[in-house]
Point group: C2
């Protein structure tokens, strides 16, 4: 990499301390070397959180780090996402979550690579940002409102992009999300509760500036190259772009990896009709509108003609067959409620899967809607459910029914039939998550090339490579779907054109490995270790569709994975590895 420039990155971080005694708004210039090494987004967030030391998730000392990447706000394809890093109240790990829409580009155009929120306001507030103007305003009248009303109110006042919490975040529900522009979720790890714990209702950002590009001609050339690759990829152009993510339902059910009855069965009961959940059915019956995030040619989001967002694949899978609810309409409604209260759809579905197993019958459509509302409002049994699947199952005396890793419930792919993906759940640093390594791509979608989903052989290496790769992608911050068609080579090229810093695909992979190791160190510091890199016993003990995971083989693969990572036998990064990555271990 060559010398530093002011291109791509804004080289300005906004930091807001909400606390009574240290309340202030300041701006600082991050080191260029930090941006070079950690890129932005998730990487920058991880480094900031690791450097900041140990905190409790709901303490004022926890930080919310909203971070863009060097490509954000340019017209690089699929670069419209934005990352949020914080310590999770649900998993206790370092956590990042990214969402699409236009919040990230707005931040960048307002002049900021990142916005760090520290402290806790004594009164509910929201933050209003328009370029250099940054103000804290009272949110007393908004407190108690859900996401759609809050977003509507704030949008009425201006044209900024909004990120806010609903009642779930206010009530510190550990499944709470932050929702941007009413439908894009910073989901999974309860980041909405962290925002709620700071008495911060919303952030509104409007930016009128531009992102400087070092070499415009080269940028145009690379952009064309990427767009061509996206179009040339049938998974995108004939799948995602046409049907949105629910196109996966048919594929996973055909592969028998669509979870059924809390991951206990291979197929739905005979009278359970999957057809209403298929993307083709939805397309034919509703003819939904296509929606795209900022600067994205894929346009995978779908909404009803009358407005109202439609659920993604994970939600459709987990709120349908896995809880034995046959009604797609109820999933649509529950999904909207999740977005309105600001709670995570996968996690709500996960805990309902456990609930349904424990009481021995499926969740009816009415129950799905009512229970979702109760989780969002922290009412009745919703309070216990809202603590997440690990806590709920333990409180019921049946921890074995919690289908999760590190407290995060699993997404909608049964690991018995996608063993690499299962291994990546176990070694994920934010808990049971499919997007860390996104082995959905090679094991299910056969991209960039197909690998055998039914074996663990070779999966230690695949997991490492894909974890590193997507750590870099999350730091750029680019949508993973683009990587079904394009590769890190093309994004390294466009990154070089934007920033004027020479990046190769190897540089990106190395940055990804650096970020992964910083995140591991964070979790090791929190007490996580080998015992946490494991799947629920069910997958080692109960055959489904004739498949099970061999525990001995799994543990051998884990040892192999640690060796490939340069970690010791307990999964702690060795000094030599850290030195090569330029990371200092911190207390």
């Amino acid at each position: 990499m060559n010398a530093a420039t002011a291109y791509g990155w804004k080289k300005k971080i906004l930091r807001i301390d909400l606390s009574e005694s240290e309340r202030r708004i300041d701006r600082f210039v991050p080191e260029q070397s930090l941006l070079n090494d950690y890129l932005g987004g998730r990487g920058l967030g991880a480094k900031i959180l690791y450097d900041a030391g140990r905190v409790e998730a709901l303490s004022p000392a926890n930080l919310l780090v909203f971070a863009t990447g060097p490509l954000t706000g340019t017209t690089t394809p699929a670069s419209g996402r934005v990352s949020l890093s914080t310590k999770s109240p649900l998993t206790g790990t370092i956590f990042d979550s990214n969402c699409g829409g236009s919040f990230g580009p707005a931040m960048k155009k307002a002049g900021y690579d990142a916005i760090i929120i520290a402290g806790k306001s004594p009164e509910p507030v929201f933050i209003e940002i328009e370029d250099d103007r940054v103000e804290l305003k009272s949110a007393e009248t908004l407190w108690g409102e859900n996401v759609k009303a809050t977003t509507g109110f704030l949008k009425e006042k201006g044209s900024g992009s909004v990120a806010c919490i609903g009642r779930a975040g206010e009530k510190l529900v550990p499944l709470a999300s932050i929702i941007s522009d009413a439908t894009h979720a910073f989901g999974r790890g309860g980041v909405g509760a962290v925002m709620g714990s700071k008495n911060l209702k919303a952030i509104v950002v409007k930016g009128t500036g531009k992102v400087a590009i070092s070499d415009r001609a080269e940028f145009s050339k690379q952009k064309k190259a990427i767009n061509r690759l996206l179009i040339a990829c049938p998974t995108i152009s004939k799948g995602l772009s046409v049907f949105g993510t629910p196109f996966l339902v048919k594929i996973t059910s055909w592969m028998n990896v669509l979870p059924v009855a809390n991951f206990r069965k291979g197929e739905p009961e005979q009278d359970f009709n999957l057809k209403p959940f298929f993307a083709k059915t939805i397309e034919e019956e509703r003819a939904p509108k296509r929606r795209a995030c900022y600067s994205c040619p894929i346009a995978c989001k779908r909404e009803d003609k009358g407005g109202g967002e439609l659920p993604e694949y994970e939600t459709v899978g987990l709120m349908g067959a896995n809880i034995q609810n046959p009604d797609y309409e109820a999933v649509v409604e529950a999904n909207r409620l999740c977005n309105d209260y600001g709670v995570d759809t996968i996690s709500v579905a996960g805990v309902l899967g456990c609930y349904s197993e424990l009481r021995g019958k499926g969740i009816s459509p009415e129950e799905l809607v009512n229970l979702t509302r109760m989780v969002g409002d922290k009412q009745g049994v919703g309070e216990e459910l809202g603590k997440g699947v690990s806590s709920f199952a333990a409180s019921e005396g049946h921890p074995e029914t919690a289908i999760q890793v590190k407290g995060l419930s699993l997404p909608s792919y049964d690991p018995r039939g996608v063993k690499g993906l299962g291994f990546s759940y176990a070694t994920s640093n934010r808990g049971g998550c499919h997007t860390r390594a996104y082995l959905v791509a090679p094991e299910i979608l056969r991209k960039p090339k197909a690998i055998d989903p039914y074996t663990l052989a070779g999966k230690a290496g695949h997991t490492k490579i894909f974890q590193d790769r997507f750590a870099a992608v999350d730091s750029l911050v680019v949508c993973k779907f683009a990587f079904l068609g394009a590769g890190e080579e093309e994004y390294a090229n466009i990154l070089s054109a934007v920033t004027g810093v020479d990046y190769t695909s190897e540089d990106l992979m190395l940055a990804g490995e650096r970020i992964w190791n910083v995140e591991r160190l964070y979790n090791v510091r929190e007490g996580f270790g080998k015992a946490d890199d494991i799947l629920p016993d069910r997958f080692f003990e109960e055959k489904v569709n004739g498949r099970v995971i061999d525990k001995e083989e799994f543990l051998k693969t884990l040892d192999e994975y640690y060796r490939m990572r340069g970690w010791d036998e307990d999964g702690v990064p060795r000094e030599g590895k850290l030195r090569r990555l330029g990371i200092r271990r911190k207390k």
Copy 2:
């Protein structure tokens, strides 16, 4: 109190984040209401730390808050001190420590009410401040140097006031202090280890500004009134001013409260000669020079003619009879070593008392000097000793020999004979400390009026009042010795003259109570409770000089104290009390 002004306070706080990813220097304006309610110094530090949430003491997330008060930098008598607040690695409680000299006045003249240090530098650094200019500089060449060499080097470069750590702080010894201008210690709670954990070697401050005074005529009048009261007080004018703090040795030995043999005996062995430790002997034999802190007419510090500081009362008491060392010269040498390595004299003496009891013989003069050096250098047995008396006694299997409260070893007054002081040790929020309530004044020095030291009757109330009083005094920040002659009435008057905000003595007492409660909430949040508000069993079980503390009476007094404080039976502040003090309970 009337409207806000810019007098007294600078209304500017300097905040420096040393971490790699958030490194920056910023300045912010604290709310006037915060300054009105918490005054400055310890109060401001407590509020900032409480608002900042839970952290580990040696984590980058811990803060160092150096804070002056509204009177600092004026010529108010005895206003030359400066406060430092942080979470203690020794006690796990909130901690503040204040020291004299000129560091505080220099901060204030440079334009800052407080300096907050956050984060951890990847490399050793020091901070250089001259008015608006604030720079981080490499301390690579200073790392490994002790206090005197470090201070000498930094003083050579300019005329600023220095606060630095020695090798003990660098090595994270839990007894480490921060030392200002080579002889003034921020002592007791291991604050030097916090500074070391941040890779911060020193802060140098030079200020050329002035502190604005609202009503100069009234200020002069009040200053004269205070000076007159100080001179009129014989404890000051014929005690402290003539002999320095060691004048107490004769008084406490006469009262039989000078601790002997780790608080196990009433008097030294017959062949132990106390005379060399008496202030009069020291005065006659060495004719030391008087030294005063900035703007202090008392001038209680003493140094040898050839330079070299002499030990204070606590050090003389605890490094002599209590460890059965008969050699005053060895105490002088050990005291200087403590200041050079940057370790706390009381705590080193305390752990040596325990060490001597466990091995069944006193500490020889040579051993005192050698062991002090080993603690400072974290070598040999010094490593275990340096962890403090609770840790050391526990590791030896004899926790009962640790004479401490909340891990902080007791100062040089046997609580059996000064029962109020003993009760104040137990209820102190920073562990076994005489300066929280400073009942030395009424129980030993009979100021402002004598109270019976041999009973617990009435001591719940006295403790509360004196705790609140000195919480305010530590926040102003004024030396407690001034309160042997003057009172909160006079200081409220001069505070009003300086700031233009009307304060009465009741306002000061209320501020003190507010601060005490914030500190209590901090400790409650850390898990401290009733079980920690207790003295070592020895004082309830072993008679010395025919005196013992009745445990039942002690516990009744504790209940009474909680009631008077408006706390529940576990010592947790009740909502009503917090509401009246304008405090919000925080997670």
